[in-house]
Amino acid sequence: MATVFSPYAWLVPAFPFVAFAVLTAFGRSLSRTGAWLATAGTFLSLVLSLVIAIERMTGAAEDYRGGYEWLRIGDFSLPFGFEVTNLAALMLVVVTLVAFLVNLYSLGYMKGDDRISVFFAYVSLFTFSMLGLVLADNLLLLYIFWELVGVCSFLLVGFWYQKPEAKAAAKKAFIVTRIGDIGLLIAILLLFWYMPDHALDFVSLHNVFDPQNGGTISLGITTLIALLIFLGAAGKSGQFPLHVWLPDAMEGPTPISALIHAATMVAAGVFLVVRTFDVFEASQAAMDTVAIIGAFTAIFAATIGLAQNDIKRVLAYSTVSQLGYMMLALGVGSVPGAMFHLFTHAFFKALLFLGAGSVIHAVHTQDIREMGGLGRRMKITAWTFGIGALSLSGIPPLAGFWSKDAILAAALADRPWLFVVGAIAAFFTALYMSRLFFLVFFGKPRGEHGAQAKESPGVMTFPLLVLAALAVVAGFANTPWNGWLGQWLTGNAEADHASALAIVVSVAVGLLGFYIGWLVYVKGAVRRDVLSSRLPGVVRLLERKYYIDELYAWLFVRPLRALGDALTAFDTHVVDGAVRLVGAAANGIGKLNTRLQNGQLQTYGLAGLLALVVLVVAIAGRRFW
């Protein structure tokens, strides 16, 4: 069935871009209206993408591709086009929806900030780039938008540029992700030279790496390419060991954390892997790497999350951990699982961040030890946050449960030990979420602001409600008994590895974790410092995030600085010294001449005589002996 709306898909990113352009052009003059304008732009794209998505859901419209030639050199040409697939359609909806809600939310959250128009300009730019990334039909174009979203994230993390932490965090975010980007870049270079007729678009990627007509590219190269792509993905999606930037990125305004560092951009890595999944499938080694890194990240980040006291950092580490889950899913070959989790996670994690934002808005602190007892004062926030927390902890029947279960099931089917890891991570997840939730909303107010905290305005609570609703229902898009989403995404009916064991375990660990949390932080049945008193080392280790940052400082930052200083010395003394030496040499000869000029005529004559003798001996003399 021919598609009607897909040809207009390019409009989806266009709206936010227009908003961005207008805001940058005359942002200062229209501060608040500008904000509304940006929101409106996002809303338009939301509508359009919904239309597209619905169209594709109702009837299986074939993929649509459009675009023009960007750059032609000799007989190489680099096209510039967009492609609408079901995957893209889904991402469009997710991105635009979250973006719209965040815009709405920010209207309240950022009120009174004198650079609000700049803020919305950045957000619109980000939305544009993210949508472009989703729609890109070839790797190069994807890379371009990939970098753009990176920059937007950098700009927004550093939005409060006067805070040194924000500055540092922004720098860190950019540079660390850049490491991954280089991997991706090299992967693109490799593909360009190895692909038949230098094609970089995903369709030909799919065809070339398709198992039946495979073998065009050697396994080694394929693995290399896959790993490099994954390096890029790891950078963006904060996979170990490139996860360090994500928690620091929480220096940015909270809505940004929700939009970029929870729902959309960080998921771009997962999206990238899905987009190039054929390459991965062609190399088992790559798949293993993805799976193992993913699983490790999941449990690693979860453990750190247990010991953090900054509400946003806890959520950040949980994001890292969840992204790990998605990678794990991909590693074990379940694209639907990954996409499904990405889908649900976008909602409940955005919900959690926005909720956290509303809390921070109320109490002006991010330290959960200074909060508490907010449940009574901020009902909506508390309830929605609770839903989000439960959903994340995988308590049925909330969305998080279904998606996480899908992943665990896939892992169990593929490699049981990964399933175990995942389950433990799930337990930790539930634990730290309950800790967070109970510490914030239960008990007595601890911080000075806690007492007179009040509920946030409507523009901020409305998105919470919407997201909460989604966090509840989104899960039914793909339940063990109907794998609709998976089918819709991948086209072929996914062999769903629904297994009772997986369900039981995931439910069990979820509930257990939450229960323990309740015991410790509400009922006080177990003393809080039970761990920190018994094995302080472990707690310290977790609080300091396994000393990864320090490790990097030792491994890279200091050596670079040292090398820089060493080379500076080298440059000034050796290289430039050589130059000066040449000059000195010329001067030296000159000095000899000055030495000769002693005013004594007879000295001059003597010099002449010697010279003549030498000349004669050297030139004529050689003829005689």
Binding site: I589, N593, L596, Q597, G599, Y604, L610, L612, L615, R623
Partner: protein, 509 residues
């Protein structure tokens, strides 16, 4: 017809004119009462120089009147030749002297040179000597010309009677000059010995056969002469006297020494080497005497370029600096002659002469500027140029052009002169010379731009305008114009040289 005919006097017209003017002016100078300004004598000597120049030009026209590509008139049994080589150089010398005298009018202070008249009429015999050197076909005439030039210039150097420096310079110049003459003469005597003749052409024919049994003596002859000439031309390391003498001598005399005396010595060198040394090789037992001799010249040229340029690096006295730059330039001027004359590279004289003319203009101009400044500040250090940009922007600009030419930067005569010489070296694959030439050129940037730094980037003690005497101004701007013209349209001049000059008719006869 070995005796002097009346008809020959016409060919000697330029020389005779100069001689006549010399005597007349000497007498006039005696007659004039002391209080009258001697500039009159100066203008008259200018007239004499101009007249001689006209005659030379006329003769050149005559030589080519028949449309003959090139001809030469030899008189007094071939001991004196009126040919294009000679005429071209004569023109150059006369022009240079003309400019120098013109510049000196109004810039020489009475205190500096008590009896200016002497200077004005002693310049003439000096030029006469130079002209004789450039157009003799016989060792004797060459020697006489050389001595005429040298002796008069001894006196000129001493012209600043009152100053001990001047006379010390004169003494040094005298001793060096005398020694040089002695060497040259001694060498000549051997040349005469092995060939039994003093006429260059005869020597040229005789020297090849003579090699068979007198090879050593030929070597001695030529190396003695080379030593003498090296001393005269102040080629390193025979150059040490030059800075002293240049510093001590009055500025106009300095520039005369730097330009005319040098040029004349080169003329003599060309005469001797192209007419005799060229043939100092016999095919029978192929002894490479000729190659050795030219190689010796090349080595001397290289040494001069290196020592002159680097020495100038550490020099802060403008005149001494220009003296050392003169050493370097002498080296450059020597390069074309030192290159192997083959059918591919017969352009040595064009290259030499082009650069010589460029050198004349840039040097005379620079010395004129220097004398203007020195006259006003009484200080001849490079730092005397400080802030010239503010005091006389146009003069500063002109000086900049001249310096660029000295440094061999486009688009100036100096640039193309060096370019042609360079091309010659590369053509004959004398890459080592080319490399040295380039290297020294780069070093010389620093030397010459030290003036520019002073003029533009330092501020002098005073900022009130600098008064440039009209004659000096004319000279400066003539030189600048000529330098630029040579730089923008080398074709005109180079083409003219090529039309006029023929290596076959003038040498190798």
């Amino acid at each position: 017809m070995n005796t002097l005919q009346w008809s020959d006097t016409w060919y000697l017209a330029p020389e005779i004119t100069l001689a006549a003017f010399t005597i007349a002016l000497a007498v006039l100078d005696l007659m004039l009462p002391n209080r009258t300004n001697r500039d009159l004598v100066g203008w008259l000597s200018l007239l004499g120089l101009a007249a001689a120049g006209v005659f030379v030009g006329w003769q050149m026209y005559d030589l080519h009147a028949g449309g003959a590509a090139s001809a030469a008139h030899s008189l007094l049994g071939g001991s004196y030749r009126v040919d294009d080589f000679g005429n071209l150089l004569k023109l150059a010398f006369l022009a240079a002297t003309f400019l120098i005298v013109l510049a000196s009018l109004g810039t020489i202070r009475q205190a500096e040179m008590p009896i200016k008249g002497e200077f004005y009429y002693l310049v003439l015999p000096a030029v006469l000597g130079a002209m004789v050197m450039s157009s003799s076909g016989d060792l004797i005439t060459l020697f006489v010309g050389l001595e005429l030039l040298s002796i008069t210039s001894y006196v000129l150097v001493a012209a600043r009677k009152t100053s001990g420096l001047s006379s010390e310079a004169a003494f040094k110049y005298y001793v060096t000059g005398g020694t040089a003459s002695a060497f040259i003469l001694y060498g000549m005597s051997f040349l005469y010995g092995v060939t039994g003749s003093t006429s260059l052409s005869a020597i040229g024919q005789g020297i090849g056969p003579a090699l068979a049994d007198y090879r050593a003596m030929v070597y001695v002859a030529f190396f003695l002469m080379i030593g003498g000439f090296a001393l005269k031309l102040a080629l390193a390391p025979f150059h040490a006297w030059a800075p002293d003498v240049y510093q001590g001598a009055p500025t106009p005399v300095t520039s005369f020494l730097a330009v005319v005396a040098k040029g004349a010595a080169f003329a003599m060198l060309y005469r001797i080497f192209l007419n005799t040394a060229m043939y100092a090789s016999d095919q029978i037992n192929g002894s490479a005497v000729r190659d050795d001799l030219f190689l010796a010249l090349a080595v001397l040229a290289a040494a001069a370029m290196v020592v002159g340029t680097t020495g100038a690096l550490r020099q802060h006295h403008a005149k001494r600096l220009l003296a050392l730059s003169g050493v370097a330039n002498a080296g450059i001027l020597l390069v074309p002659l030192s290159l192997d004359v083959s059918n591919l590279h017969a352009s040595l004289f064009s290259e030499f002469f082009y650069y010589l003319v460029a050198y004349v203009f840039m040097n005379v101009g620079a010395f004129a500027v220097l004398s203007v400044i020195a006259r006003e500040k009484g200080d001849e250090a490079v730092s005397a140029f400080a802030g010239l940009y503010h005091r006389a922007p146009w003069t500063a600009g002109g000086m900049t052009v001249l310096l660029c030419s000295l440094a061999g930067l486009p688009v100036t005569g100096g640039f193309f002169g060096k370019l042609f010489i360079l091309f010659g070296t590369v053509q004959t694959r004398a890459y080592w010379l080319a490399a040295l030439l380039l290297a020294t050129t780069v070093v010389s940037y620093y030397v010459y731009f030290s003036f520019i730094r002073q003029m533009y980037m330092r501020s002098g003690d005073t900022d009130q305008g600098l008064r440039v005497p009209v004659p000096a101004g004319i000279v400066i701007w003539l030189s600048v114009a000529a330098t630029l013209a040579l730089g923008v349209l080398p074709k005109l001049f180079m083409g003219w040289i090529d039309d006029v000059f023929s290596i076959l008719a003038d040498f190798l006869f």
